[in-house]
């Protein structure tokens, strides 16, 4: 039974601090082998989870959502009204996206997503969060100095563009809908999706271009 007692857990953490091997890989190995010995996990299952998040479940899902919204006004309208149902149409509803909001960049608004208290992220549509998203540097500065953060990412904003920072403090997750790049009339959904960067869906990239693949 879980104690829900922070003092008990602080004591456990102190013991672990003194006794766990320093190397992270050894800590995880010890945990995995014990859980396997106890029949609580299975190593082949672990392999399958790693593979899922290495291949299929990643930002290419979010990119397809964005591209579809650019091409299909009906889908965009559903996405803005009820993002959960809209991503479910594509089979992307899943971990951490049961309460999802899409926030749209415009000529006068730029959106930026952060989790200052931990590292909340819409996993089932963006995959594993980048390391920088989970660092103290990003988490501390995104809410206080968003323009400075954006500048580091190469995003230079005019003063009259409003920055909206979304701090994911509850179970709602946010996806930025970037602006469609210019000169992409006639592009297919798949071709457009290739132009959508992961960072543009977090808000640390603003101007996508037909040459911004990657």
């Amino acid at each position: 039974m879980t104690s829900f007692d922070p003092d008990a857990v602080s004591k456990i953490h102190r013991h672990l601090h003194s006794h766990l091997p320093s190397e992270s890989a050894l800590r995880v190995k010890a945990l995995e082998s014990l859980l396997v010995e106890k029949g609580l996990v299975d190593s082949a299952t672990i392999d399958a989870w790693v593979e899922a998040y290495s291949e299929e479940v990643g930002p290419k899902r979010g990119a397809l959502v964005v591209a579809k919204a650019w091409i299909d006004p009906g889908f965009k309208s559903r996405l803005m009204q009820d993002a959960v149902s809209a991503i479910d149409e594509l089979g992307y509803l899943g971990k951490a996206t049961a309460h999802l909001k899409v926030v749209e960049n415009t000529a006068t608004i730029h959106n930026l997503v952060v989790c200052t208290l931990c590292s909340c992220y819409p996993f089932s549509i963006l995959g594993i969060a980048p390391n920088w998203y989970k660092t103290a540097a990003y988490r501390s500065r995104a809410v206080r100095d968003p323009r400075g953060v954006l500048e580091e990412f190469g995003v230079d904003l005019d003063d009259d563009i409003e920055v909206r920072v979304w701090d994911s403090t509850a179970e709602l997750r946010y996806l930025v809908l970037p602006q469609r790049p210019e000169a992409t009339q006639g592009f297919s959904e798949a071709a457009l999706a290739k132009l959508v960067t992961r960072n543009s869906m977090i808000g640390t990239h603003r101007t996508l271009s037909p040459g911004s693949e990657g």
Binding site: V9, I128, I161
Partner: protein
């Protein structure tokens, strides 16, 4: 809890590694840890308890050790607390228990079904009517609970406006203590100038999702 995890607005942290290589995992052990966290947990943990266990890591370790390392320590500590593991077992790296029935292996199809099944909903029906409507002016309370909370320190005692009402959601503070209580949840918008002394008239806003008991009506 007034801990180092509550990082919003803290100063002195340096530049962001904007050139980080875009891969899901930077080392094998990161992927293993992510995967363990997806499929091994104690049945009575809540997401908020798990977050609280992570916040309780020694502050120097919290800030200096790798991200997924903190997941390992959180999982180990939470398993020891709930009785699935003992400190001796983790230190000696040997299980004292007679091996239980092994979990059947899951293949890729099972994993995709599991990811979909992780679309956990936190909204609940409650009888109480919401105290605020969109456009209402509010003040956040000066709360300093010892336990887990989701009102960030930088937004305590600040004026904001209700931007959206999300219905009632499971209240994180109670959930971290093992109790499920639902409260109305709002998106509250704050002007940068009301949060940060140096922001002046900068045209920026911060939106924070806050439960009703974090808020008071603004006095006219």
């Amino acid at each position: 809890m007034d801990g180092v995890h509550d990082l919003g607005g803290k100063q002195g942290f340096g530049p962001i590694d904007v050139d980080e290589v875009e891969v899901p995992f930077h080392a094998d052990w990161e992927g293993r840890m992510w995967a363990i966290a997806q499929c091994a947990r104690s049945p009575d943990w809540t997401i908020d308890w798990w977050r609280h266990v992570r916040e309780l890591i020694d502050p120097v370790d919290y800030l200096s050790r790798p991200y997924f390392d903190s997941w390992a320590q959180t999982h180990i500590a939470a398993f020891i607390d709930s009785g699935e593991l003992t400190l001796d077992e983790i230190v000696s790296n040997q299980s004292a228990a007679i091996p239980a029935n092994q979990q059947p292996s899951q293949d890729n199809e099972d994993i995709f079904a599991a990811i979909e099944a992780q679309a956990y909903r936190f909204d609940r029906e409650i009888e109480a009517q919401p105290a605020y409507r969109v456009g209402d002016r509010v003040f956040t309370r000066q709360l300093l609970p010892r336990h887990h909370t989701r009102l960030p320190a930088y937004a305590r005692g600040k004026p904001g406006v209700i931007h959206a009402h999300h219905g009632a959601h499971v209240f994180a503070d109670a959930s971290a203590q093992g109790n499920e209580i639902a409260q109305h949840l709002y998106s509250v918008v704050f002007e940068a100038g009301d949060l940060w002394i140096e922001a002046g008239n900068r045209k920026d806003r911060v939106f924070i999702d806050l439960w009703e008991s974090y808020l008071d009506p603004a006095q006219d």
